[in-house]
């Protein structure tokens, strides 16, 4: 039986790449399970949770929707935002922290860009005056 592996990919990189023994995910029809030997499938995942068991134990992923592609035991999940936690009770808090860090990084980037634009405009104005 083909062993299962899970790869979780976000735009910023691979969040998780691990062998797993089982996986539970939710699509538009409800929860479904993936175990070794399951037929290949593609599923569109709504925002929600994904549960898996790997050698470390049970893991929980909060994802903002995405696509799950199971091909010959290799399960690839692609999403634009995700957070990983080993504890279901702290998953939401972990996600909140990830989102906060992301927002802070975005704000810092925007602020740096705004500074650059302001500086460029000031220089342009100075050169025009001169």
């Amino acid at each position: 039986m083909t062993p299962l592996s899970l790869v979780l990919r976000t735009p910023s990189g691979v969040l998780l790449d691990t062998p797993i023994s089982r996986l539970q995910a939710e699509d538009i029809d409800g929860w479904f399970g993936v175990a070794p030997g399951r037929a290949d499938l593609i599923a569109v995942l709504p925002p929600g949770l994904l549960v898996f068991s790997d050698p470390v134990g049970e893991g929980f992923v909060a994802l903002a929707g995405g696509v799950l592609d199971l091909d010959a035991g290799r399960c690839r999940v692609m999403t634009h935002r995700a957070a990983l936690s080993r504890d279901l009770d702290s998953l939401a808090a972990d996600l909140e922290q990830v989102l906060r860090q992301r927002r802070a990084k975005h704000d810092a980037r925007t602020s740096a860009l705004n500074d650059l634009i302001r500086e460029a405009l000031q220089r342009l104005a100075r050169e025009e005056r001169a």
């Binding site: 929600g48 949770l49 903002a64 279901l88 909140e96």
Partner: protein
């Protein structure tokens, strides 16, 4: 208690689904614990009844008095019932009651 909604629907969805999943898991765990408890209570009741019935039958045969067997079976039922009550006591105790 459900936390207040945030500006991020993704976070709200995850909070709601994680809480629902955690609650379902706790419920499942409680079910199996209750089932195991009921199983233990069954044995706590049955074992004394069987033991007393066995001893009673033995004594009745030796002494030739069948009433002894009936008496000891009833005693076994009493001991079993006491065992069950003893097991159940912590869970039915008044929550207001303080430990000594």
């Amino acid at each position: 208690m459900t936390p207040p909604p945030t500006r991020d629907p993704f976070l709200d969805t995850v909070r709601r689904k994680a809480a629902r999943m955690a609650s379902a898991r706790r419920e499942r765990q409680r079910f199996w614990q209750s089932l195991a408890h009921v199983g233990v209570l069954g044995w706590v009741f049955v074992i004394p009844v069987i033991l007393f019935a066995f001893v009673g039958r033995l004594l009745a045969r030796l002494s030739g008095q069948p009433a002894l067997a009936v008496g000891l079976i009833l005693l076994g039922v009493g001991v079993g019932a006491y065992g069950v009550w003893h097991q159940l006591r912590p869970s039915v105790r008044d929550p207001e009651e303080k430990e000594p």
